[in-house]
Symmetry: C2
Subunit: 257 residues, 2 copies
């Protein structure tokens, strides 16, 4: 099958956020990231591959779980791939997925563990934080609308497949957190030692950008300020590093619950 | 003062590692990173700045501490800066420093805390690990010779000034660790729970690359395998994230020593 001129232009346009939003679609390229997403049972709407693609489009079957139906890749030529690719050096595979943005129902935040990202604009950090939320089995990640675009290739790459496993909600944090009755933990330099955190089954951990910290509206909703003890001279830790340390301590102190 | 043709070519050549090594010099550019290094009392050999540079070349005076002598910036024109800069958009300041590689004396590793990086090729990770070592006041960082170049701008930028504060040694890890009598901790998926680590005053924490893990020679010298408990489905954590969690647990469990 060969691609039409309209296909080329539509697929190429998805590198820009505004076109992703208007079409409700996003695109990822590369054998590694697509293998990760398929193995996390992500349902693409289309997979374009050259005959050199070695990946299987069928996600691994896990007994008892509903698996998405087999998606046959559309075979295209390397020349066609070069025309739809967003990269100077195209890969053997490019996949298209649907942008979904579930609504956060009230009371959701009061159950389980939530990571809330306030204005984190670095896509590498956002992707790494999805991976951390996945490792520590957080129930969901909230992103304020000014975070890096969840459906950009950089965020998805950095998440190492966790993009497909972690439940995400893009929402005004101030509005969402205002309805929560569980503890809302925020990191700063003058909070309680994170090593002596009280056990928590349900909580929200909010993280601000390294440059600007938490927005004032979110800051005012924090109910527990926590601090990672510092021993040396570095002024701060990277936001994903700080989040991982908080998550590890939260899981450690709450292991007995 | 204006720069000679030889100056231009020498300064521009420093973007390549082989020229840095043959001249024994490295270069950093940018107001933020140079301010960080100056505030960490790093002694540059030269600072080139346009008249728009707002930074002071004199490091903050801390009473009782030996401070490096005042280094006057060499004022150059924006056109000259554009010729020596390694970037398409030059900054207002570029500084040159000397590459120093102190030798690791025997027995050094037996005192205090050491972070040892085995073949970490991503400069962002290496810089972030320097920042973590600095935060947790590790006494030194060892780098195997195949790590990302410590004197590259990417490593120095990612370290957020910690480059100037942390003692670093580039050395064969297998040789260095063979002489150590303190516990050598390595992270893998089947070690002891890091939450129940025994207190340690002196230790080495070794970290391998995410792709390849520890080299066999280093792996065989690990005396304590530790694991960060995983609750969800992510396959692994980024190496800097894992290191930070290990360091935090090490400092927490050893706080009473």
């Amino acid at each position: 099958m060969s691609l039409t001129k309209a296909d080329f232009s539509r697929l190429r346009s998805l590198q820009e956020k505004k076109h992703r939003e208007s079409l409700g679609l996003f695109v990822v390229e590369g054998e590694k990231v697509i293998a990760e997403l398929l193995s996390a049972q992500f349902s693409f709407t289309a997979i374009y591959a050259t005959k050199d693609w070695t990946g299987a489009a069928r996600p691994p079957q896990s007994s008892g779980k509903k698996t998405p139906p087999l998606l046959l890749p559309i075979e295209i030529t390397p020349a066609e791939m070069a025309r739809i690719s967003h990269y100077p050096t195209p890969s053997t595979v490019l996949a298209v997925g649907q942008i979904t943005r579930p609504l956060l129902s009230s009371d959701t935040l009061n159950h389980g563990l939530t990571l809330a990202l306030d204005g984190l604009q670095d896509p590498g950090n956002v992707g790494t934080l999805l991976r951390i939320a996945d490792w520590f089995a957080f129930d969901r990640v909230l992103l304020s609308p000014d975070c890096a675009d969840l459906f950009s290739q950089k965020v998805i790459n950095a998440s190492m497949g966790s993009f497909a496993r972690v439940k995400t909600f893009t929402t005004s944090l101030a509005d969402a957190l205002a309805t929560a009755t569980v503890p809302i933990l925020g990191c700063d330099l003058h909070g309680a030692n994170i090593h002596t955190l009280t056990p928590l089954r349900d909580a929200v951990v909010v993280l601000g950008s390294e440059g600007r910290g938490l927005s004032p509206a979110v800051q005012s909703l924090v109910t527990q300020r926590v601090t990672i003890p510092k021993f040396g001279a570095a002024e701060s830790l990277n936001v994903a590093i700080a989040a991982a340390i908080v998550c590890d301590n939260l899981r450690r102190t709450s292991a007995s619950l």
